[in-house]
């Protein structure tokens, strides 16, 4: 029995399909990538055990009750007017700190609406008090 000797022709990896494979992977990652970012209202919480005494005239209390009604500095106001009123008050006093306090049963929706209004009034100093009854 004679055996044919095969001549070694040099091993090569076929590269013609490489582009196709790369395309396939590319499409996979294109599809799985979610470009849309999460968005929302940013806020920085104060560190634990960090209580500073603030002068009373620099504080603007903003109370939200369980029905979503807002009391700004003692006067009842419409949520959509907070923006304008707070802007005025910040112009009068730059160091104004707005303290937002809500009732335990306040809906998150109402709270976010108030924070949004404060953000739109360019209020930098927002303090979030614990909920109360």
């Amino acid at each position: 029995m004679s055996q044919k000797k095969r001549r070694f022709k040099g091993g090569e990896i076929p590269t013609s399909s490489m582009a196709d494979i790369a395309f396939l992977l590319l499409i996979f990652f294109l599809v799985t990538t979610t470009i849309d970012m999460d968005k929302g209202l940013g806020i920085v919480l104060p560190p634990e055990g960090d209580t500073i005494e603030i002068r009373k005239k620099n504080i603007l209390n903003c109370l939200i009750n369980s029905q979503g009604k807002v009391l700004l500095g003692g006067d009842p106001v419409e949520t959509k007017n907070i923006n304008r009123l707070v802007k005025q008050k910040i112009q009068e006093n730059e160091n104004l700190i707005i303290s937002v306090k809500s009732h335990e049963k306040t809906r998150y929706k109402d709270y976010v609406a108030v924070i949004d209004q404060l953000k739109r009034a360019n209020a930098k100093r927002i303090s979030i008090a614990e909920t109360g009854d």
Partner: protein, 136 residues
């Protein structure tokens, strides 16, 4: 005067570098893709106008709060007092951590306030109230 006419006009697009370009795009998308995503709880996000974008998904941890008062972090349910331990570990692993609070618009503030306190104790202070964009 005689002009030399060019007879051969090479009009092919060079395809030799195509795989390289494709690979570059591929690597870009591989790097930007975050595969591990959590489904969370079914919630209705509130709407707001003055919103910011969260910078990176890699540094973001979501906390879901449902209408019923359930708290979910990475698809596990926790009670309010457990949030501290979970977030403390995350915060130590990643100092740039931003917490994204995905809360239902009907959730009560007592719970949200409780989460605030726990986050303060865990020293995870950068918070973002996740919202939808309000039109007009």
């Amino acid at each position: 005067m005689q002009f030399n006419r060019k007879i051969k006009l090479n009009s092919d697009i060079p395809t030799a570098s195509m795989p390289d370009i494709i690979f570059m795009l591929l690597i870009f998308f591989m790097v930007t893709t975050v595969l591990r995503e959590y489904s969370g709880l079914p919630i209705n996000l509130p709407k707001a106008k003055r919103i910011e974008k969260l910078k990176s998904k890699r540094h973001t941890t979501h906390i879901w709060i449902s209408k019923e008062g359930l708290i979910s972090i990475e698809d596990k349910l926790y009670s309010v007092k457990d949030v501290r331990h979970v977030m403390y570990d995350k915060r130590s692993a990643n100092p740039q951590l931003v917490v994204s609070l995905k809360s239902d618009e009907e959730a009560r503030m007592a719970l949200v306030s409780g989460i605030h306190n726990e986050l303060r104790k865990a020293d995870a202070l950068k918070l973002n109230y996740s919202t939808k964009t309000a039109i007009n």
